[in-house]
Amino acid sequence: MVEMLPLVATGVTVTRRGKRLIGPVDLNIEGDGVTVVIGPNGAGKTTLLQALHGITRLNAGTVRWACPATQARRAQAFVFQTPVMLRRSVLENLIYPLRAGGMARKAALALGREWCGRIGLGAAEGRPATVLSRGEKQKLAIARALIIEPAVLFLDEPSASLDGGATREVETLIETAAKGGTRVILSTHDMGQARRLARDAVFLLRGRVHERGPAPEFFHSPGTAQARAFLAGDIVE
């Protein structure tokens, strides 16, 4: 695995149509485990993840990895809030990133089948991915992200609108990946999920990092009034 951490974001600002979505954000991501990004709706969680991943244009600031940018690009993966399903079979969806990265079809298929089984879709490998249930699509999207063994994995609200069972399966996948050495950065609305997964937490408010801290302490005794109110379930704007 490529040594690409720490990730250093400096003064990252994203503006669209004259409105500042995030920034300026300064953020360091290092070590291992799961970083959870929380905050009210519109705080810029999705934009921040996309900016770090490098798929959104920055209006100011830089995102630097410890390795060259092209190498870093290949060693990270992103799972979107609404999983994007290619109009192909489950198996073909899984092997797409491998094939795009130049792996031979036979090896890719073998690995793809293994992952199909791992996410419980072994019997559905030939079915069109577009007809899967919401939870199955999300698992497939996560597996498709993990199959390239990324050093860093971004997930944007991975269990939004999933039921309990599917959420648990999704969290198991994320935890297994994190234990395997993949650095995970995920945004979530689900405070229970944040508490279960986080090693550290980033609290975003109005496009800025309002508070940052290691997980148990942050959730137990947040340093700022807004974070305290947000964790208590109040409406924070």
């Binding site: 290619l86 109009r87 797409y96 069109p128």
Partner: protein, 234 residues
Amino acid sequence: MTDLWGGLYAAARLLITLDPDLIEIALRSLRVTLSALAIACVIALPLAALLAVRRFRLRRATIAILNALMGLPPVVVGLVVYVLLSRAGPLGVLGLLFTPTAMIIAQVIIIVPLVASIAHQSLRELWAEYHDLLISLDTTQRQRIATLLWDGRRSLLTAALAGFGRAIGEVGAIMVVGGNIDHATRVMTTAIALETGKGNFALALGLGFVLIALAIAVNLAIHWLSRTERGQQW
């Protein structure tokens, strides 16, 4: 009304007796149209995908022009190709005028904008769906185009069939550049025009019905081969 019945009768007789002239011109029609369609698809489909995935300065203008060219008057295309291929023209040395090749060239020019426009329309929607993922996976432009063409193949079939429909029923351009020469460049449409001109309505209508049947048969065959509208296909 009697002409219509006469036409049906003529069509039946031509088909049942396997009229050699009919078979010859029907096969030539298919050969010219399918060749033109194949060449047009090779040009138009990647172009449509490129227009979907790539942002360049003249993109909007290119799309607008392609859309406008869908209404290209065939007879004008025929005339331009005629001038280019005629003995005195820049490509005159090739000696292509009044050959099936000239007809194929004219038809390619007529259907490329049509196929490209329809294909672009559906690939654009597919790209909107795939955009985030393919950008995130750091795919090359080539891979993006290949993915769109493969995953969008069913809607591209519609684009190709529209091109086929336009080409098989086209008469203006191929009449001008082909010349409707018996046993050389006569095809279904030019034969119909000729028989109509001679006042031979029954035979003209008969040929017309055969042409329609041919077009439907090709469409059905392609749909059957590509298994659209079946089960859980998408």
